[in-house]
Symmetry: C2
Subunit: 129 residues, 2 copies
């Protein structure tokens, strides 16, 4: 059972030029950063999120996948989605150096941690959170 259920029906705007998964991503990110979704706590399941936001599971998964790439959350197959340790995603924005080099080349790089892979047993490590 997930904790910290949202207070509002979490209104989205389908007509907006910004994609639904981006809106969902931003809302979830906000709740993680402001503590509504506490570190190490379990996020609402994908089916719950589809109900909360009235969107399809694909859209939810895209938002969650992006947040995972940002390092804010991680998933465990068969268990659920969890909020990362704050320490982890505080460091994520400090990977500079490469990005600046690319910027000088005319690119804007988005350099982020994509996934946390649990080495020995995903369950064993997860329980130590």
């Amino acid at each position: 059972m997930p904790n910290a259920k949202p207070s509002a029906p979490t209104r989205l705007y389908a007509v907006s030029p910004v994609p639904l998964y981006t809106q969902i991503k931003d809302q979830l990110r906000g709740r993680i950063l402001d503590g509504s979704y506490a570190p190490h706590s379990q996020m609402p399941s994908e089916s719950e999120l589809t109900a909360m936001f009235k969107v399809s599971r694909i859209t939810v998964r895209q938002a969650l996948g992006d947040l995972q790439k940002e390092g804010l959350i991680f998933k465990i197959h068969g268990k659920g989605t969890y909020v990362s340790k704050p320490k982890a995603f505080q460091n994520l924005t400090h990977l500079q150096g490469f990005g600046e080099a690319m910027a000088s080349l005319g690119y804007e790089t988005v350099n982020q941690v994509i996934s946390f892979k649990f080495q020995p047993a995903s369950r064993a490590v997860a329980e130590q959170l």
Copy 2:
């Protein structure tokens, strides 16, 4: 029109424990690294890849999305998918420091460039490749 068409029908194994998008990803990566898909050349379109591998477009997109995260390819909306400059993805594996720190925490991090965002006009920059 893409160049460097594959020699074989590119056989995949649906029964394999390794996901289809992973098999596709590995095959495409191989052709990029061995030069079958040359740097700056256009990859086959998503619809062509669905035909080549006999899979759905979602599966193709997942493979291409992963390769883009690896920095091997990049996409331009409305134009196509292109092979990155070799120099670009040679440097990608040298972002260490953070990854090693995370490893000591019990994580295995996959630290990669996720996207190349073209600043002023995507077309203008793309033409300079």
